[in-house]
């Protein structure tokens, strides 16, 4: 069982306010907590007005890319387009290190439904799909019950809340593919195909799922929308920074005393999150490396943890905020093994379309395995650097680019680890 801990350090409980309360899951008691008020407001607004509010709030996509949400919505065709529009909620959460969307789904499913509806209205969609990863069986009964109840009580379907506006929602369950969390891969999977990403252009807003204009948003992003509607853009900007407003559900894992979820305003220094909020590393061991934003982000060394946890702050530090999922590795960690395991993940999840990714990720994993087992050569480091270059900017989607972030940063910052394995068949972990 897990739900966000409360903590003194600049915690805010915007998204997580009701997490941990059984009653938050049920429609009647959720309504008592102010549920669907954001939607009520949105139903009296024009789509463009809703888009403007979200734009003004500065909310950025929480699925890892950090693209401004309002701007993404504004890419959709306007009122003169009579094609069906679609909203897809990306609940495929499969990024190693990330485990926040699960909390929204199982504690506040109505919040998500509300967010989906507001987004759908903003982009003139009449059907929203929640694409949820197949492994989330424990969450399904809760979510499904919430959706069914919403339909029964008039919060989904025809004439929502008596407004005259109608919108459907369907829960669509995946079957085990990380790449189905990629925007176009998700759409392909929703269409009943292999989850193979597509070349862009065309962009989803022009031709997405079923060939129609589509917007794909992450669970946490959509969950933030109702309160922005209810309280306004300025209110949301009380937290975070100018470029990275709002709060974030953090997912802290690895070698920590108190791993788990924490909702924090964006901007808290990373080291404070790890050593105060999460209580630092067990048995007083020293930190060796941190991957700050889920496995697709670059390693940070112990002296790089001072950074501000904003999109811009992490970028300046040479990594990225990603899904705000720090994975902490203490001094006992063999970084070669860690990087190897990460590379194996990408190799396993590659859809196989692009040659560089299909062959390259597996090749990288095999080289790292070989080095880890004492059979490496110094030339392997050059090869790995070269592979980093060949996998960057060459493929249909960024899975190949994603493995480069941890790999290249491990070569740059932990070369001693590689050399120890190659030259002395030992590890620098203690």
């Amino acid at each position: 069982m897990a739900f966000p801990y409360r903590h003194d350090l600049e915690t805010t409980t915007l998204l997580s306010q009701y997490m941990g309360e059984e009653e938050a899951r049920h429609l009647d008691t959720w309504l008592e907590r102010g549920g669907y008020e954001g939607l009520r407001k949105a139903l009296s607004m024009e789509p463009e007005e809703i888009v403007q509010v979200v734009k003004d709030s500065g909310l950025r996509g929480r699925g890892g890319a950090g693209f401004p949400t309002g701007m993404k919505w504004s890419f959709m065709p306007g009122a003169d387009d009579d094609r069906p529009h679609y909203l897809c909620c990306n609940a495929d959460e499969s990024e190693p290190g990330a485990f926040k969307d699960r909390e929204v789904l199982r504690w506040t499913p109505h919040l998500l439904i509300e967010g989906c509806l507001i987004a759908a209205r903003a982009i003139r969609a009449r059907h929203a799909y929640i694409y949820i990863r197949g492994e989330f069986f424990p969450v399904l009964p809760i979510l499904n019950r919430a959706v069914s109840d919403a339909y029964r009580e008039g919060y989904l379907g025809e004439d929502i809340m008596g407004s005259g506006w109608s919108c459907d929602l369907t829960v669509h369950v995946g079957a085990g593919a990380y790449i189905a969390g990629e925007e176009t891969g998700l759409m392909a999977s929703l269409e009943g195909r292999r989850a193979e990403p597509r070349v862009k252009p065309p962009f989803p807003a022009q031709a997405g799922v079923f060939g129609q204009p589509t917007t794909v948003n992450n669970v946490e992003t959509l969950a933030a929308v109702p309160m922005i509607l209810t309280n306004g853009a300025e209110w949301y900007r009380q937290w975070g920074t100018e470029k990275s407003p709002g709060t974030k559900l953090w997912c802290c894992s690895g070698h920590l005393n108190r791993p788990g979820n924490y909702e924090l305003a964006l901007g808290v220094p990373l080291k404070d999150i790890l050593f105060d909020v999460c209580g630092g590393i067990p048995e007083g061991r020293a930190v060796r490396a941190v991957i700050p934003g889920g496995s697709s982000t670059a390693y940070l060394t112990p002296d790089e943890l001072d950074c501000e946890t904003t999109y811009e702050g992490l970028k300046e530090a040479g990594s990225s905020l990603g899904t705000a999922s720090p994975i902490v590795m203490d001094e006992s960690t063999c970084l070669l093994g860690a990087t190897r395991r990460i590379a194996q993940f990408y190799a396993h999840e590659s859809c196989g379309q692009c040659v560089q990714c299909r062959e390259g990720t597996e090749w990288i994993a095999e080289i790292l395995t070989r080095i880890e087992h004492g059979d490496g050569r110094m030339e392997d480091i050059d090869t790995l650097y070269d592979l980093c270059e060949q996998l960057t900017g060459r493929t249909i989607c960024v899975l190949a680019d994603s493995v480069v972030f941890p790999l290249k940063s491990s070569l740059d910052k932990f070369r001693d680890e590689y050399e120890a394995h190659i030259l002395r068949d030992t590890c620098t972990a203690t």
């Binding site: 292999r194 070349v199 040659v355």
Partner: protein, 536 residues
């Protein structure tokens, strides 16, 4: 500024410093081809509608764009500046080859594709002849994907051309990619094989040796083969093909592109044609019946003089039986001979078979008429019949190409009995042929040049790929000589082009044609064709 030219908007862009103007909506790869710039590609194929852009070999640099772009799907824009050979683009291309070589087995010494393999080609072009991989290669083995097609999974580069050919062109979604990542491979539904009349095309589209025809396996090296442009004789569609031979045996047929006839494709029935062309017992020398009634070999001079003499002494008239496999020129010359002899015309019959249409290019159809020149036979005044009429008492028969011995309505090998005189021009000594008074050996389609007229009246050339069997000669040459010996004016030497031009001048609908104007794609008759055998 893009302009309106006629009914279509165009854009002008620069590719490798060459300016080119193309219709709006053209992709950069196609624009490059027009500009004479070669950009390599695997997954793109001009005959397959989709462009997945997944092989990543066609990446080019575009000024103003940070990342390399796949030119097969990039829309050409006005004033776009494209460079295909920057260091970055070249490096990217090279690295694709290296990645393909990570698991691709170096099977060249035993792979049928060697010499015509796009992986070899680009490996040499980019200079990436090996990979740095030390790890053992993934071994996936071999699968029978169709009755006659083998799939070597290790060699596969997952370009998906074969999958998309089946899905989009054959419109039979039976070939798919199974699994994902580097474990992906091409497969059919478990326990099934491909069973489609056009599936052989997947071997042609495969850029490497992953898909091979089993009956070609290990038969010939690409560089040991001779080839010639020809027309498939399997039915009346007239698909343009390339016939390859080794040591004077036909080893395979592959389709040639013709946008008006067969696009890039052909059917499986056609692929089996001509392989038996010069095998078995052929008529190789002229044979004349001597006083004892035995057939004896003769040289051409004696044979032609004797036949001409016999023909001119006939009193009871005669007619012809022709084969719809005979070419236009031969039929034309036969018509001239019949007119000179005052014979009353001739018949032909066409073997029939089931039809099959290539859904994605419906003009390509395996047609019911299983012969290449039924239209030509009608054009030259021969009558299509279900079964051949028996000759009248004492009537002479001139037989061109028809084997005669497989007509089910006639008693075996009895055809010709009761005829006053039988002249047989053919490729094989069938039972019925042996009853002839004179046998003149002619060349098969593979051993000569000529033209056929396809189902819709397109006249197309075919070229010679095998040596003549024995001293056989093209029928049009033999018949022209006979006409000359019977008093007509004939040139002493006759090339195929001369035979064609003479025929064209004398045949309604062909007047504007010449041998050279036919080129490699053929030309349609100037008048509509009304063919009994099904012009659909």
């Amino acid at each position: 500024m893009s302009e309106q030219t006629g009914s279509q908007e165009t854009v002008t862009l620069t590719i490798d410093d060459v300016e080119v103007t193309v219709p709006k909506g053209t992709r950069v790869l196609d624009a490059a081809q027009r500009a004479g710039v070669v950009v390599p590609f695997y997954c793109y194929h001009p005959g397959i509608p989709t462009r997945p852009a997944q092989c990543r070999v066609c990446l080019v640099s575009v000024e103003g764009q940070g990342k390399l772009q796949p030119s097969c799907v990039l829309d050409a824009q006005q004033d776009m500046v494209v460079h295909t050979a920057t260091d970055e683009a070249r490096l990217a291309r090279k690295s694709v080859i290296e990645f393909l070589l990570v698991n691709h087995p170096l099977d060249c010494p035993i792979c049928d594709a060697a010499g015509q393999c796009m992986l070899q080609d680009y490996a040499f072009e980019t200079g990436q002849l090996e990979s740095r991989v030390e790890e053992p290669k993934l071994v996936m083995g071999r699968d029978r994907i169709a009755d006659d097609v083998l799939y070597f999974a290790d060699r596969c580069i997952i370009c998906t051309r074969c999958v998309r050919f089946m899905r989009e062109v054959a419109q039979d979604d039976a070939l798919i990619v199974a699994q994902r990542g580097h474990r992906a491979y091409i497969d059919t539904f478990p326990g099934t094989e491909l069973d489609n009349p056009f599936h052989g095309n997947i071997v042609d589209v495969c850029p490497v040796g992953a898909l091979v025809h089993e009956d070609f396996l290990f038969k010939a090296r690409f560089w040991d083969m001779d080839s010639a442009s020809s027309i498939c004789p399997g039915c009346s569609n007239g698909c343009n093909v390339s016939v390859a031979s080794k040591e004077n045996q036909v080893v395979r047929l592959k389709p040639r592109h013709n946008a008006e006839v067969n696009s890039y494709w052909m059917c499986d029935h056609g692929r089996g044609q001509l392989v038996m062309a010069n095998r078995g017992i052929r008529a190789e020398v002229p044979l004349l019946r001597d006083e004892d009634g035995e057939l004896r070999p003769a040289d051409w001079k004696d044979a032609l003089e004797r036949v001409a003499s016999d023909l001119s002494n006939l009193e009871d008239g005669g007619r012809a039986v022709v084969s719809p496999h005979a070419c236009n020129e031969s039929l034309h010359q036969l018509r001239r001979l019949l007119e000179r002899l005052g014979f009353r015309g001739g018949e032909f019959r066409v073997e029939q078979g089931g039809e099959a249409t290539l859904a994605g290019f419906p003009k390509l159809k395996l047609r019911a008429d299983r012969a290449p020149n039924a239209t030509g036979a009608e054009l030259f005044g021969f009558e299509r019949v279900e079964s051949l009429s028996a000759p009248g008492p004492g009537e002479a028969l001139v037989v061109l190409g028809e084997r005669l011995d497989d007509d089910p309505t006639l008693p075996d090998a009895d055809f010709g009995e009761g005829a006053g005189y039988v002249l047989y021009l053919g490729t094989r000594l069938t039972e019925a042929a042996r009853r002839a008074d004179a046998i003149l050996p002619i060349t098969s389609v593979a051993e000569m040049q000529g033209t056929f007229t396809n189902w819709e009246g397109r006249v197309q050339r075919f070229d010679q790929v095998l040596r003549e069997a024995g001293i056989a000669r093209p029928a049009w040459m033999v018949l022209s000589r006979l006409v000359g010996l019977l008093g007509g004016e004939e040139p002493t030497r006759l090339e195929a082009s001369d035979a064609f031009d003479a025929m064209a001048a004398a045949t309604p609908g062909m007047e504007a044609m010449s041998w050279s104007s036919l080129g490699l794609k053929g030309v349609s008759l100037a008048r509509p064709v009304d063919v009994a055998g099904g012009a659909t």
